[in-house]
């Protein structure tokens, strides 16, 4: 009885806290936006008054112009799409394989040490250094970038999901065993849901790795993509287009991160709201 009363009043408190949190978040977001706008304005003013060299550093107005040109008959949208496609495909393929393999290794504890050792080695390879090999093997089109992005994400996904599966609460495992649950059931009802928070944080980290893989692949050899644009513009000293590419890449990473975070909040809705 008193428990019920308690939980409803704590519900009100929680809601109040949530309102305050939203207000705080809006305030923080506003401050961040204000600082960014101020810096951009300062940059533009500095270029306009000749305090800094706009040719060497680019300028906000120039970036804006490059963006308008890129959108109006240029290749900005198609380049963005190409890089997005490479990144997402590589991310999904590499992470899915890595997570799947890492979790399944729970069934064979003897193997998991060996597999983890191997993936540690794989993880220690600077994946970018594989770029030239991958391009020779898979050509200069999107396939090689997908491979680079996939390889960049695979080992991380496997190592962390393997660890997540292994670090399941021993008492919970015993509880399942005391109910005489078969291993397949322990896997689906305990290991996998228990590893979900780790899987999502791995995915978030892997967005960055996949993007680096795709872009560096484009630097090495490509006909399209944001990396291609940035590389070409850089060799022509068109710094405004370089900046534009970097900004779009940053936006892309942010949006992908947002999608993962949103999915996480839907899938792991049981997590305590703090």
């Amino acid at each position: 009885m008193s428990d019920v009363a308690l939980s409803s009043s704590s519900g009100i408190r929680r809601r109040r806290r949530a309102t305050r949190r939203t207000a705080a978040r809006l305030g923080t977001g506003g401050a961040v936006a204000a600082i960014v706008i101020a810096l951009v304005a300062l940059w533009q003013v500095a270029v306009a008054y000749g305090w800094i060299n706009g040719k060497l550093l680019g300028s906000p107005a120039g970036i804006w112009q490059a963006a308008v040109q890129g959108l109006d008959g240029g290749t900005l949208l198609s380049d963005t799409f190409v890089t997005l496609y490479e990144t997402v495909l590589g991310l999904v393929a590499g992470s899915t394989l890595g997570i799947g393999l890492g979790l399944l290794l729970w069934f064979v504890p003897r193997m998991s040490g060996v597999a983890e050792g191997l993936s540690m080695i794989l993880n220690s390879i600077p994946k970018i250094a594989l770029g030239p090999l991958i391009v020779i093997w898979f050509g200069s089109d999107a396939t090689s970038k997908i491979w680079l992005a996939g390889i960049s994400t695979f080992a991380v996904a496997m190592i962390s999901s393997c660890a997540a599966a292994r670090e399941v609460d021993q008492d919970l495992l015993n509880l399942f065993r005391s109910f005489r649950a078969p291993p397949a059931m322990i896997f689906t009802k305990l290991i996998v849901p228990g590893a979900l928070p780790w899987i999502f944080s791995t995915l978030r980290v892997n967005i960055g790795f996949a993007l680096i893989g795709a872009v560096v692949g484009e630097y090495i050899a490509s006909q399209a993509g944001l990396g291609h644009e940035v590389f070409v513009a850089g060799s022509l000293f068109d710094l405004n287009t370089v900046w534009l590419g970097i900004i779009v890449l940053t936006l892309m990473a942010t949006v992908l991160g947002g999608i993962v975070q949103f999915t996480e909040s839907k899938v792991i809705s049981w997590k305590a709201q703090r």
């Binding site: 428990d3 509880l175 049981w270």
Partner: protein, 282 residues
């Protein structure tokens, strides 16, 4: 053999309990192998049984091997010598042990209702009847309103009651408890002790409670088994008979005139063996 407590059970129960024990521990010995290959015996020839509807506490100081005994009874460990056997039900079907720890072990991603039916789900498909039964039992423990909530929204006492519901829904013949209430506040704890005592009245379920809390052991148990020495042996097997005003509850048991005497007997028993042990090792 052992008479049940004076208060609620009928005398006829004694004969029945002796005839078909719910749990029989016979000649149980167990040892660990230490890091340098030495064999460290934990138990030497333990013998005891638990009758139908009987509540038995196993008390010992920390390090007496209570947790090992718990794991041996629950089947998580296999004994090196001797036997742990679970008695059949009255209708001849297999008996079943379910346990509960200090940690409630609720799965955070499941609702209270689906946590409660976990034990069923792990050996067969959960039916609508099972869910109905779970809701009824949750309601009995005052959890009806939170059946569809997630564990993080509940207090410690409520969570432990969900764990108890999960334990009971697999219809065990014996419930094994390891310090289940030691993390709770005193009031919640007394309420849950009452819940444990109510088990045998409602379902005839037997209970084995492993604890270091002497007071709790005496308040809820028909018998207290004292583990002592190293390797541990049964040093005492005490029939707890309390004269209570009205039905026996966690509070009325503690107010019984015999309570202090039982407390002293268990306390002295534990102290005696510790002194003996430290003297022997010196």
């Amino acid at each position: 053999m052992h008479l049940p407590a004076a208060s609620p059970p009928a005398p006829s129960r004694a004969a029945f309990a002796a005839a078909s024990p719910r749990l029989n521990v016979a000649d149980l010995s167990h040892a660990f192998v230490s890091a340098d290959g030495e064999r460290v015996p934990i138990f030497e020839r333990l013998d005891f049984s638990v009758g139908s509807g009987e509540i038995v506490s196993i008390v010992g100081r920390s390090g007496a091997g209570k947790s090992t005994l718990f794991n041996l009874i629950s089947g998580l460990l296999t004994p090196q010598a001797g036997r742990v056997s679970v008695g059949r039900r009255e209708d001849g079907s297999h008996g079943r042990i379910a346990y509960m720890l200090q940690k409630d072990l609720l799965l955070p991603w499941r609702t209270i209702l689906h946590n409660a039916v976990l034990g069923i789900e792990l050996y067969r498909k959960v039916t609508r009847t099972d869910l109905e039964r779970a809701r009824t039992l949750l309601a009995r423990y005052g959890l009806a309103s939170v059946a569809d909530a997630y564990p993080h929204a509940l207090s410690g006492g409520m969570r432990q009651r969900v764990a108890l519901t999960r334990t009971l829904l697999v219809e065990p013949t014996l419930v094994l408890l390891d310090e289940p209430f030691s993390a709770l506040d005193y009031e919640t704890r007394l309420a849950l002790e009452d819940d444990v005592m109510a088990l045998r009245e409602q379902n005839g379920t037997s209970v084995v409670l492993v604890t270091h809390d002497i007071e709790e052991a005496i308040a809820v148990s028909d018998r207290v088994i004292l583990l002592g020495g190293r390797p541990a042996r049964i040093e005492d097997d005490i029939d707890v008979r309390l004269t209570t005003h009205g039905p026996r509850t966690a509070i009325s048991a503690r107010e019984a005139p015999e309570f202090r005497a039982f407390h002293a007997r268990v306390w002295n028993g534990l102290r005696h063996h510790t002194i003996q042990h430290s003297g022997a090792s010196a």
